[in-house]
């Protein structure tokens, strides 16, 4: 009797905590179908008017497109920069290697508000604020550490000696990389690409500082919109973003297993 009750209470507690954790993400869905002019619970009626309004909101559409393009560029550049660095940091031994690795992951430890301000102050002097290159460089600072960590883990957990074996079979270092190393790190590449894309697309603090008012980015526009409006338009955007993220997670899961991708 007593154990049953305590087990029941325990389960109830766990479920409530889980609900607390997921509530904000879940509740944007019903609100996004509200027919009201303001966010209110429960909605007086249901409709898709805010999705329609979204399509006609030029700022949001532009911001969405810009964010996609920026995230795409940032992802590509992240891989181009992080991949060689990860190879260098795992396949060479040299003095100061560990120090360099820590340095490259350090931007993650810095509060993004400090990083954003620091970059703003420097970039302002070169007219990079509000420019595409400025925002892309700013995002790279925080996507690179993530990608680097995933790639380094991928490279250093590669089955032992297969690269050596390819060398003895007559493959030169470039062929070894292309035929052996690269295919074997596909999972790590997919994971770091997905991570870089999501981090860049979601980044709001650094974007607030360096995107300025000229270059519209989705998280920044949402933030400003919420400051002045209380209608459920943002709920519609949020619902779409949650679904988009879910899609990416599923793709990554299909490709490599999500647990593996986030746990390292």
């Amino acid at each position: 009797m007593l154990p049953t009750i305590s087990r029941g209470l325990h389960a109830l507690g766990i479920i409530s905590i889980m609900m607390f954790l997921l509530a904000p993400v879940i509740l944007v869905f019903p609100i996004s179908f509200s027919a009201d002019a303001h966010v209110a619970w429960p909605p007086s009626a249901w409709s898709t008017r805010w999705y329609v309004a979204l399509l006609h909101n030029e700022e949001m559409v532009t911001a969405f497109r810009n964010s996609l393009v920026i995230a795409g560029c940032v992802t590509a550049l992240t891989l181009v920069v992080a991949m060689p660095a990860a190879v260098a940091l795992t396949r060479w031994k040299f003095w100061g290697r560990d120090a360099l690795t820590s340095l490259f992951t350090a931007p993650l430890l810095l509060p993004s508000i400090v990083l954003g301000l620091a970059i703003l102050v420097i970039f302002a002097g070169y007219g990079l604020v509000g420019s595409w290159p400025g925002v892309i460089i700013g995002h790279l600072v925080i996507t690179l550490p993530y990608a680097l960590r995933v790639l380094i883990t991928g490279l250093s957990t590669m089955p032992a000696f297969v690269e050596d074996a390819a060398g003895t079979l007559g493959a030169d270092p470039w062929q070894v990389f292309r035929r052996i190393t690269l295919p074997l790190m596909t999972p790590a590449l997919v994971a770091s690409a997905a991570l870089a894309f999501i981090v860049s697309f979601d980044e709001v603090v650094i974007s607030l500082f360096i995107a300025g008012t000229q270059l519209k980015l989705l998280p920044v526009s949402l933030y400003h919109y919420v400051e002045s409006w209380t209608d459920p338009l943002v709920a519609a955007v949020s619902a779409l973003l949650v679904l988009g993220t879910l899609g990416i997670v599923l793709i990554v899961e299909r490709a490599i297993g999500f647990g593996k991708a986030v746990s390292k």
């Binding site: 297969v162 003895t168 007559g170």
Partner: protein, 357 residues
């Protein structure tokens, strides 16, 4: 000589050299065993020959040509790794074909050679599988096929059998020997298992702490070990300490022992293999021939291990281990029995322990 290694040395960082002053040469088609305890530098030696590690100093020549400065991928050596190192993302056929593709062989040619290589190691049926779908023994054959299909100048095997169970190991070593003989492939075979080395190698190098202790045929290494280390490494052996006497015998405790070498001075280490000693009840007195040693002792301990009895015998010279084949015809000795131990003087190895100078 086909493969020549001259005063090879490897240092990692500032530590003592992992391999030093290593020289040997190998004729075409010869199978050389590289034997030694863990950490003695076998893998390092193999990796220097294959070019995966750069030698600190020394020379490696293949067919008279100096390859010391060549990168691995220009050396044309087939290497079989202890962990097999099969490419997990390629099928078996693709694994075997890899070396041929690197050599820009023609498509039709590749297919034919892959097929015959797989047939050679009895694996024709699994060409389209991935390595993880094969058993350990099958993976090992694939690794062998992959190393052989490129028709390497030299085949290097690093403990290829250590991941297999005992029975499979015996089969595979026979197969490796067969194939090696058939192709007359100059081969270096690394192992730390002396029976494995003895069973298939033409000659054996015993290494210790990065240095060559002895090179010779299996028979040489076993019967005429150059150092106590070699004697102990290639099989169980008794060791007794004694003193050379003027008459050419060795005084060990209260006994006199005659050895293969007749004479020396100073302190000496005597070594005798346990199964070369004969045991008899001590009352059965018989003449002692000059080619024989005979001392009395008392059985201390008997261990039965199936095909042999292992006796520990306390003698006037010290404690000796003796191995006798079991038999249903005779009863074993019991602890406390007094016995006579006999062995040939030529089975008595001596090593001077006097520090020279």
């Amino acid at each position: 000589m086909y493969l020549e290694v001259e005063s090879l040395e490897k240092r990692y960082g500032h530590f003592a050299p992992s391999v030093s002053d290593l020289s040997f040469s190998l004729g075409q088609g010869e199978l050389l065993g590289l034997l030694g305890p863990s950490g003695c530098g076998k893998t390092t030696t193999l990796r220097m020959i294959s070019g995966l590690v750069q030698a600190t100093s020394g020379k490696i020549k293949v067919g008279g040509q100096d390859v010391t400065g060549l990168p691995t991928y220009r050396r044309n050596m087939g290497v079989m790794f202890q962990s097999y190192a099969l490419f997990p993302h390629m099928t078996i056929a693709e694994n075997v074909a890899f070396g041929l593709q690197m050599r820009k062989a023609r498509h039709a040619d590749i297919a034919k050679r892959v097929e015959s290589a797989l047939a050679m190691v009895h694996l024709s049926g699994v060409a389209e599988r991935k390595p993880r779908e094969l058993s350990g023994g099958q993976q090992q054959r694939v690794a062998l096929a992959r190393a052989l299909v490129i028709e390497p100048d030299i085949l290097l095997l690093d403990e290829p059998l250590s991941n297999l169970d005992a029975k499979l190991r015996d089969n595979m070593r026979g197969e490796i020997r067969d194939i090696q003989q058939r192709l007359r492939m100059t081969t270096v075979f690394v192992t730390h298992d002396q029976t494995e080395a003895m069973a298939i190698c033409d000659r054996i190098i015993v290494m210790n702490r990065g240095k060559l202790e002895q090179i010779g045929t299996p028979h040489d290494i076993y019967e005429n070990p150059a150092t106590p280390m070699v004697a102990e490494f290639v099989g169980r052996i008794n060791r007794l300490e004694g003193q050379w006497r003027n008459d050419g015998a060795v005084a060990v405790g209260d006994s006199l022992i005659r050895a293969k070498d007749d004479g020396g001075t100073g302190r000496v280490l005597i070594m005798i293999r346990p199964h070369r000693i004969d045991l008899s009840a001590s009352d059965a007195k018989s003449a002692v021939s000059p080619e024989e040693n005979a001392i009395n002792g008392t059985i201390r301990h008997v261990t039965y291990v199936g095909d042999t009895f292992q006796y520990e015998v306390a003698t006037t010279g010290g404690l000796l281990h003796v191995e006798k084949a079991t038999s249903s015809a005779t009863d074993p000795f019991q602890p406390g029995d007094t016995v006579t131990l006999r062995w040939k003087t030529r089975d008595t190895l001596t090593f001077s322990t006097e520090v020279a100078g």
